[in-house]
Every structure is written in structure tokens, then in C-alpha cells.
């Protein structure tokens, strides 16, 4: 593990925003393409061995998208919908994202992805997420924890099933 390749999260207490920062040993154009091409997103974006499947996608300024997170048994875990405010190759993507499983609509996140060119064909990706409230931001941070627990339970399930 190269330490300079690890992901940094900046989330100050009591704020509505968070930052996700990572450097890649990949040229900016290629990295940008990966985040703006549904066929490539489907290959890496879904967490914990799940599948990302687009219901619809129109990746252009003014476009929109909808994708499902599907587990290994083919069950739909959740859906994310959003609109694309701007795709400015190869430096910036601005879109919204809404986690559709919440009991009420409107908890949308504004996401700005900035691709910064570094020497030696490296690229720094800086994702800036802005939520409607501190509670929404904290819930989003904790979603990793919940998914992590879901994953642990799933592994446990598999273990118990394979013992039969």
C-alpha cells in the first residue's frame, strides 16, 4: 500500500459539507472519462462487491442519471437519482445525488468533482459534497458504517449457508 495513494476524508464537525480527496497514478483525461462514462462507472463504483446498474443515463451538461446498487443475490439495495449540472472535460463534473430510500424526498446532495493535473501523469481528484443539513451530512458519513455492517452480516450469512 502506497500511503500517498490513500483516500483522505475531511469532514469538520457541525458542517454540511465533506471532502473526499485522492491522488491517482492515472492521466487526468482517463480519470475524467471513468467518472463520466456509465459503462466504466458500472465496473468500479458500487461498494462491497455489489453491482451498479443504470436505469437511465444521459451524461452531459443538463442531463440526468439513475442507478441501482444491486447485491450479489440480485436484490436491489438502493437507488440514486440525480441531474448533471455540468460536465466540463477534463476538469470538472457537477451533479446532484439523492438517496431514494429515505422516507422523504428532497435530501439531495450537491457534488463537485475537480480533476487536477499533477506532474508525472498523476491526477488529484477532489470531491466536494454539500448537503442540505448537518444531519444529512452526518447520515451520509455514517452510511459507510451501515453498509460495512450490512457487508459483515452478508459474509456471516454466506458462512452459515456454506456450512449447511
Amino acid at each position: 500500500m502506497k500511503t500517498n495513494d490513500s483516500t483522505q476524508i475531511i469532514a469538520e464537525a457541525g458542517k454540511q459539507e465533506l471532502f473526499i480527496i485522492r491522488e491517482f497514478d492515472i492521466k487526468r483525461e482517463r480519470l475524467f472519462e471513468a467518472f463520466s462514462t456509465p459503462e466504466i462507472l458500472e465496473k468500479f463504483y458500487a461498494p462491497f462487491g455489489n453491482k451498479m446498474v443504470f436505469n437511465a443515463h444521459d451524461y452531459r451538461t443538463g442531463g440526468s442519471y439513475s442507478w441501482c446498487n444491486i447485491d450479489q443475490q440480485g436484490r436491489i439495495l438502493c437507488t440514486f437519482n440525480g441531474v448533471i449540472h455540468e460536465i466540463h472535460a477534463p476538469e470538472r463534473i457537477i451533479h446532484t445525488s439523492e438517496f431514494m430510500e429515505l422516507p422523504e424526498r428532497g435530501h439531495v446532495v450537491l457534488e463537485v468533482m475537480a480533476f487536477e493535473e499533477l506532474p508525472y501523469n498523476r491526477t488529484r481528484l477532489r470531491i466536494h459534497d454539500v448537503c442540505l443539513s448537518v444531519e444529512d451530512r452526518d447520515a451520509m458519513l455514517q452510511s459507510g458504517m451501515e453498509s460495512g455492517l450490512v457487508e459483515i452480516f452478508r459474509q456471516l450469512d454466506n458462512l452459515l449457508t456454506s456450512d449447511l
Binding site: 476524508i9 469532514a11 485522492r22 491517482f24 497514478d25 468500479f44 461498494p47 455514517q142 453498509s147
Partner: protein, 106 residues
């Protein structure tokens, strides 16, 4: 390890998180805390005792009243609650890097 899990359970509850946020800026009595929530007084008391057991709050008797103080130091110890979120993104980025590097070699 067990203590750590208890703390995570404590902060996983939305009402308890709201109590922590409320007390982050001021120390209050149980009655004053309960006045901020729709939950019944006994429910709020239960939350307060869980948070006190996890040492996220400290109860102090002042005269006839018990005041609850937010334990900022303890909260910082569990600040790594964002670690699973970070890991999720790190895994995602690692997959992307592997994917693009494999493609490049073709």
C-alpha cells in the same frame, strides 16, 4: 473493542446524536434536554443514561439539579467513525485504478 462497539451503538441513534449536538454548546438538566424533544421524559432519560454509560456525557449534581456535560475528548476518540466511509471510497478508487491500469496494458 467491546466499549468501542457500545459507543458506535450510542451514536447510531438519531435522538442520541441530537442530544450530543444540543449539549455540545451548553450543559443542561435532563428536564431542559427533554423539552427539546418530542419523546417522553423517560425515553430521553434512557438515552441520557446510555450516553453517560459510554462516557459521551458526564452527569454532575449541582444543587438539586443534575447537569449533563458533553465529553468532547471522548467524542474525538470516536471521531474515527468516518473510517468505514473512508474505506468504502478507498476501495472504490482502488478498483478504478486497477481497472484503468489493466486497460492500459492491453
Amino acid at each position: 473493542m467491546e466499549m468501542r462497539r457500545d459507543v458506535f451503538q450510542a451514536i447510531a441513534d438519531p435522538t442520541r446524536r441530537a442530544i450530543l449536538l444540543l449539549l455540545a454548546s451548553q450543559s443542561l438538566t435532563a428536564g431542559a434536554i427533554a423539552a427539546n424533544f418530542e419523546s417522553s421524559r423517560p425515553t430521553v432519560s434512557k438515552h441520557l443514561s446510555i450516553l453517560t454509560e459510554c462516557e459521551l456525557l458526564r452527569a454532575e449534581q449541582i444543587g438539586r439539579e443534575v447537569y449533563y456535560h458533553f465529553e468532547a475528548k471522548r467524542m474525538r476518540e470516536v471521531a474515527d467513525f468516518i473510517e468505514p466511509f473512508r474505506t468504502m471510497w478507498d476501495d472504490r478508487f482502488n478498483r478504478l485504478e486497477d481497472l484503468l491500469k489493466t486497460k492500459k496494458r492491453k
